[in-house]
């Protein structure tokens, strides 16, 4: 018999190796939109930058900027793209304008809009000869600004994750739709998807769906985990490609430990950078990445605020402290800044917190040294909320001519600017994110939607409390016998029964597609009635954090985000049970009393007998 030297297994291995060595080419071109904030100015001279980001490994072609404008009088507009002048025009009245932007490679790009307003001859401002930045009596608006572009990604590579799936910086009108394909009976797959997602952030929120996207919301990308029926001796196969123009990341594994190892590799940015291929087998013992930890909030930078230059204007900041904090004292801290010397009388900087004057520093007549300066600020009252609005107002007077060079003379250093909000941790339902941060395990039931909810909990907690690293999410099966600290269930029967418990607060039909959170014995149960309810949870959970009252032990959130407190934890000195706890001691007292009485009686009886005897 003739031996077949090229066995089918070898043939298959060779074929796979050959396939993996080839990158996946794509010629997919997709029209996309990036929206920008409006520009409105009443200054004579304004520079407003817009930024956009092209994902790693991608190119943009046929980029066109368009906007609607409205101006009272003549305004000249110059547009610089990455410091090169690409467009100029004069605006008058209302209309729209558009111009092309050259094809661009991956990375951040900057568009500077330079607006110069000219007053009509009849205006008093027309006589001014300086470029002072004080208000003039006319305005210019640029609204509905956006760029349209064709995204072109010649090759899908693993090292470009997550940009190869979605642009993490894009600001666009509609949310991304991500579809997770996995076997719901293999919860390790759900855990690993959760970990992977937790490492990625996106400026435009992502709506996650399990298995398939809804008919009216086409998927933007897929992430799929498949368990191989056959052993995979080479490791776990990870590949990225585009199927019908939709990017898809596929992970095929044979053992759970190997899957964990592959995800570790994808989460480790140094390791990921080396995967300059569309598909590869990842080895079985990749080390864990550095996981997210509880973040310290001590400076303005910790609150996500970057250093900024303060123009002759005001700057509004929102200081968002974790919603799980309950302030116990006023917000205070120090603003650290660098300011030029030689400013004239009247130059100063003031800060306001929630509308109240919080601190100020005179910047006039300062010596050239030291360069670093700071001043203290204090809020006027103890706030019940953990969100504060901080306003910094700067007035710079360099000389009587008020030259434009006066701009930029003050720079706020957010790394050195401190914030201190004395607080205690909230109790009850509001403490859920803190519980997750310290113990990132969530039990989910087998119904569709529960993983979405677990992911939403993870993402919200990370944003609020944790550092910018992946979360070691662990998704386990819900077990009544051994419930976890966090338990998610999509179960209409439980939800209905729980809603019916509170007919005095909840009109049952209004609770449809909402969700309910119960805190009992240091355990959280998050329950909704449907997949729509789960989607609502994912959409609303982050937004309602500030609205969850302290010490609420049970809340219901309707589909439009209204929060109802159903039960509260009784705080303070609870009365001891009123039960009269008679003790054995009482019995002893009674018996003793009877015995004393008996002795007395015996003595009383004995005395006459003694007398008799004596007689």
């Amino acid at each position: 018999m003739k031996k077949n030297l090229l066995k089918p297994q070898i043939l298959r291995a060779l074929l796979v190796t050959a396939t993996l060595s080839l990158p996946v080419f794509s010629s997919a071109d997709t029209w996309n939109t990036w929206t920008f904030d409006n520009i409105n100015t009443s200054n004579k001279y304004t520079i407003e930058p817009h930024f956009f980001y092209i994902g790693k490994g991608s190119e943009w072609q046929s980029i066109q900027f368009s906007t609607d404008y409205s101006t009272e009088h003549f305004t000249t507009l110059l547009v610089k793209y990455d410091d090169k002048l690409i467009y100029n025009t004069t605006l008058n009245g209302a209309g729209d304008l558009s111009f092309n932007i050259p094809p661009s490679q991956s990375g951040f790009h900057r568009l500077d809009f330079i607006l110069q307003q000219y007053s009509p001859p009849t205006s008093p401002a027309a006589d001014r000869t300086t470029f002072c930045s004080e208000d003039v009596d006319q305005v210019t608006y640029l609204t509905n600004s956006k760029i349209k572009y064709l995204r072109y990604r010649p090759v899908y590579k693993l090292k470009d994750l997550p940009d190869a799936l979605f642009n993490p910086q894009i600001v666009r009108p509609s949310k991304f739709v991500g579809v997770l394909k996995f076997n719901s009976s293999q919860l390790i797959e759900a855990s690993m998807l959760g970990r992977l997602i937790s490492a990625w952030s996106a400026a435009t929120p992502i709506k996650w769906y399990e298995k398939t996207a809804p008919a009216d919301q086409p998927a933007n990308f897929y992430i799929e985990i498949v368990k191989s029926a056959k052993p995979m001796p080479n490791g776990t196969l990870v590949q990225i490609s585009a199927q019908n123009d939709i990017p898809t990341l596929t992970i095929e594994y044979d053992h759970p430990e190997k899957l964990v190892s592959a995800i570790n590799g994808l989460l480790n940015s140094d390791y990921l950078q080396q995967l300059d291929t569309s598909a590869t087998y990842l080895p079985n013992k990749l080390a864990e990445p550095k996981w997210a930890e509880l973040k310290q909030i001590k400076t303005l930078a910790d609150l996500g605020i970057s250093d900024f230059r303060l123009n002759q204007a005001e700057k509004n900041l929102f200081l968002n402290f974790p919603a799980v904090w309950q302030p116990t004292d006023i917000l205070q801290g120090q603003i650290a800044l660098r300011v030029q010397s030689g400013l004239l009388e009247g130059s100063n900087i003031t800060t306001w917190i929630d509308g109240g004057l919080a601190g100020s520093l005179k910047t006039a007549d300062l010596a050239s040294d030291p360069v670093n300066r700071q001043f203290n600020y204090f809020a006027k009252t103890i706030s019940d909320s953990t969100t504060f609005s901080m306003k910094l107002e700067n007035s710079v007077i360099v000389n009587s001519q008020c030259l434009p060079t006066a701009k930029g003379s003050l720079w706020i250093d957010t790394q050195k600017s401190t914030v201190k909000l004395p607080h205690k941790l909230k109790n009850g339902v509001a403490s859920l994110p803190m519980s997750f941060a310290t113990h990132p395990t969530i039990a989910i039931d087998s119904h569709a939607g529960s993983l979405d909810m677990a992911i939403a909990i993870s993402q919200t907690t990370k944003k609020m409390l944790m550092t910018n690293a992946p979360v070691p999410l662990n998704v386990v099966k819900y077990d009544q016998k051994k419930p976890e600290v966090l338990n998610v269930q999509v179960n209409p029967s439980i939800y209905k029964q729980q809603v019916l418990m509170h007919p005095n607060i909840i009109y049952a039909p209004a609770a449809d597609r909402g969700f309910l959170i119960n805190f009992q014995d240091q355990r959280f149960d998050i329950i909704t009635d449907s997949v729509e309810g789960a989607q609502n949870f994912s959409k609303i959970w982050e937004k309602i954090q500030q609205n969850i009252p302290n010490n609420a032990s049970k809340i219901l959130v309707t589909e439009n985000g209204q929060v109802f407190t159903l039960q509260k934890i009784i705080v303070g000195n609870q009365k001891a049970p009123l039960v009269q706890q008679s003790s054995f001691f009482v019995l002893i007292i009674i018996i003793s009393a009877i015995m004393i009485l008996a002795i007395l009686l015996w003595y009383w009886r004995k005395r006459p007998n003694d007398k008799k005897k004596a007689n």
Binding site: D525, P577, V579, I594, R605
Partner: protein, 300 residues
């Protein structure tokens, strides 16, 4: 002669003092329009130590016996032919029926010693319970009791409702609350309790949750919604000790509970463990003295 008289006198004085002291403990204040509590039944939580149960609870007026489980951990406490293997000690229902305090039997169905396990397996226990109902078709019973206890913290209580509905006979169940004055107990019960299900409300006095007076208020609230026949109070005849264990309640503690539950049907939890003969004698004596002037009409 004088000596004899003096001894007799001393005995009478001692006895009177004791009665006064006992009476003081009883807070024995009488009123004319009082309906005495009707102690109808006694629970028994079967275990090897108290099998077969013995007692004199009939002195209190008890004629209904409620063994909490007939099957625990898939093993039967009764010796009749059944689908289940048996514990080392067994009892015979017919023999039990001959006891004056067990003229009627409400038979506990399948349960588990551990509440968490019982709740997790409630549907499975309902299946076992249906087998027990089938096995006891020929035995005259007053009713059945499904021994998975419910309280408002049980998120999956709807599964108990499913289990009860799947049973081939109407049953009694029991509920409790760890809050002294639970706000939503009535609406909670309404939200899931299947029709024709009787409810024993554990008074929570024995575990130290609430006073008998608080228990009475809750009971009356529940009875307003469900009717007096459907909600019956369970008197916990035990008290917590410092080491986390429980002792039998003293007679005067039980008397205080009974006085508060005047006009109500009462089941005592439980007989063999916490109601020994001397406690029964004391409570029965008080009952007779206290309510002798009243017509002991049965509470309906």
């Amino acid at each position: 002669m004088i000596k004899k008289r003096l001894t007799k006198k001393a005995f009478i004085i001692i006895f009177t003092c004791s009665l006064i002291l006992l009476g003081g403990c009883m807070h024995d204040v009488q009123a004319d329009d009082i309906q005495p509590p009707q102690i109808e039944g006694i629970f028994w939580q079967p275990d090897l130590a108290t099998t077969a149960p013995r007692g004199n609870w009939d002195l209190l007026g008890v004629d209904t016996f409620l063994p909490q489980w007939s099957v625990v951990e898939s093993k039967s406490w009764f010796d009749h032919d059944s689908h289940f293997s048996k514990w080392e000690k067994n009892i015979n229902i017919k023999k039990l029926n001959q006891e004056p305090w067990a003229q009627n039997i409400i038979l506990g169905l399948a349960g588990e010693y551990n509440e968490t396990i019982a709740r997790a397996n409630v549907l499975e226990l309902a299946k076992h319970s249906n087998k027990i109902i089938e096995d006891t078709k020929t035995i005259p019973l007053k009713g059945y009791y499904f021994p998975v206890e419910a309280d408002p913290t049980w998120i999956c209580v709807h599964e108990l409702a499913k289990a009860i509905t799947s049973l081939s006979k109407p049953v009694w169940i029991s509920i409790y609350s760890a809050e002294p004055s639970p706000q939503y107990l009535d609406s909670w019960l309404k939200s899931w309790l299947p029709k024709h299900t009787g409810v024993f409300f554990q008074d929570g006095v024995g575990v130290g949750t609430r006073s008998p007076q608080q228990a009475r208020i809750i009971l009356e609230d529940l009875q307003k919604d469900f009717g007096k026949d459907q909600i019956i109070i369970v008197l916990e005849a035990f008290r917590p000790m410092k080491n986390g264990k429980f002792r039998s309640a003293y007679p005067w503690e039980i008397i205080e509970q009974l006085k508060t539950y005047e006009g109500q049907k009462v089941y005592i939890f439980d007989g063999p463990h916490y109601m020994n003969r001397w406690t029964v004698y004391s409570v029965a004596l008080w009952y007779k003295l206290h309510y002798s002037s009243h017509h002991t009409t049965k509470v309906t």
